[in-house]
């Protein structure tokens, strides 16, 4: 309980790092001046205007620096660039990332901020402009904050609420399969009751994971359901378990019920592993880290987030186990009458 209180407090009140929300215009032509209006998030552009700098980055060190940056307020600034008429590489359009830096906020990046179309008249000597400036001496933001990710913005906090639902569901189903195995070995009806209680609560957590995921997806991927592998596979997994409960309620004899449930449950858990862990890793997915390894390492979860994420996972798992204990005890009381 304390863990979950901590998770809700820290998950909500630790601020986000500054970031860039919007840049207008989002396209321009090479060989011309480009004045960008930038909207920041949690930013403090006015804090130290002398150190406010902006760059447009093509790749790596291929950047041009803004020759003038004007902050209007803490969240709005204008930056003017001269886009050279010649690029070091040849493409039909050039996506440029915007990099901002100031002493208080530290550096923030917006990838693909503007798209530049090639110039009609090209001056080959301007190519060297791309290598004149460098992004250097960037600042770091002090204090405890969550990273700012484009599109995600504040919804990065959902990592503490949506993801632990699935962790809890998997643990509940796993423990349930363990009790089913025990029932197979001993034939004690008590183990059957325990495993069924765990499945019931696991289903609740799974549905919560699905619903919260859909809500999150609507506002980041623009659809409740985008037929993403992980979405589909988790829905199938839930259906398998739902079918188990339906099958159970259709049987009259409690011994038969218990035996079939135990067998089906172990089979369902064995299916759960490829459905949730193997198939999504084999194809592309909108979920982070698929087609590779999920997000526990690497950039998606920094150390500040880990301090909340792991307690969240443990907290929700314990909550699930506790609720399933309650369900088990009520079912048992009901059965004894």
């Amino acid at each position: 309980m304390l863990l979950l209180v901590y998770v809700f407090v820290a998950g909500w009140f630790v601020p986000l790092k500054p970031g860039i929300i919007q840049v207008t215009p989002d396209r321009g032509e090479a060989g011309e001046m480009l004045i960008l209006k930038v909207t920041g998030y949690n930013s403090s552009f006015l804090a130290d205007t002398s150190l406010l700098r902006a760059w447009l980055r093509l790749s790596g060190d291929t950047v041009i620096q803004a020759h003038h940056v004007q902050a209007w307020d803490d969240r709005h600034l204008s930056a003017s660039f001269y886009i050279p008429s010649v690029f070091p590489v040849r493409q039909e359009a050039y996506p440029l990332a915007l990099v901002l830096d100031n002493a208080v906020d530290g550096a923030s990046v917006l990838p693909n901020a503007v798209f530049i179309t090639p110039a009609k008249e090209q001056d080959a000597s301007e190519s060297s402009l791309w290598f004149k400036d460098k992004i250097e001496k960037v600042h770091d933001k002090a204090g405890i904050q969550y990273p700012f990710r484009n599109i995600l913005a504040e919804t990065i906090r959902n990592t503490y609420f949506h993801v632990p639902m699935w962790f809890a569901m998997i643990i509940l189903f796993g423990v349930s399969a363990w009790y089913s195995l025990k029932y197979y070995k001993t034939g004690l009806i008590d183990f059957d009751q325990r495993s069924v209680a765990l499945i019931k609560v696991g289903l609740v957590f799974g549905m919560l994971g699905l619903v919260t995921g859909m809500l999150w997806a609507k506002n980041t991927w623009n659809a409740y359901w985008s037929w993403d592998v992980k979405q589909n596979m988790s829905a199938i997994a839930l259906l398998i378990y739902a079918a188990l409960m339906v099958m159970r309620s259709s049987l009259e004899d409690s011994m038969q019920k218990a035996r079939l449930t135990a067998g089906y449950n172990m089979f369902a858990f064995a299916l759960l592993i490829p459905l949730l862990f193997i198939i999504p890793r084999m194809t592309d997915s909108l979920h982070p880290g698929n087609g590779g390894n999920p997000a526990l390492g690497g950039e998606d979860l920094d150390n500040t987030m880990r301090m909340v994420f792991y307690p969240a996972v443990i907290g929700f798992i314990l909550l699930g186990l506790w609720i399933s204990q309650l369900v088990y005890r009520t079912d048992k009381l009901k059965g004894n009458l």
Partner: protein, 86 residues
């Protein structure tokens, strides 16, 4: 099996199905509600760095778990009542 007449929708099921069917119905309503919100005011939900998405997710989790616990509580009360009669 006795049918529970006080619950019109879940009364179609046996008594022990009440809990699950209610929960399922609630989730359906929650999705509908969220959907309606998304259609009417996407700008509101996505304002302030989409913080309302986090609020929605937390509310869905808290409300669902709360209702689930209340349902368990009512089940226990029913058992207690029956125990008294015996």
């Amino acid at each position: 099996m006795k049918l529970d007449k006080s619950y019109h929708i879940s009364g179609l099921f046996q008594r022990r199905m009440n809990l699950k069917s209610k929960l399922f119905l609630f989730l359906m309503f929650a999705v509908q509600l969220v959907k309606a919100n998304g259609d009417v005011a996407p700008d509101f939900i996505r304002s302030i760095g989409k913080i309302y998405v986090v609020a929605g997710v937390c509310l869905v989790i808290l409300i669902t778990l709360f209702i689930y616990l209340v349902l368990i509580d009512r089940k226990i009360s029913r058992i207690e009542k029956r125990q008294k009669h015996e």
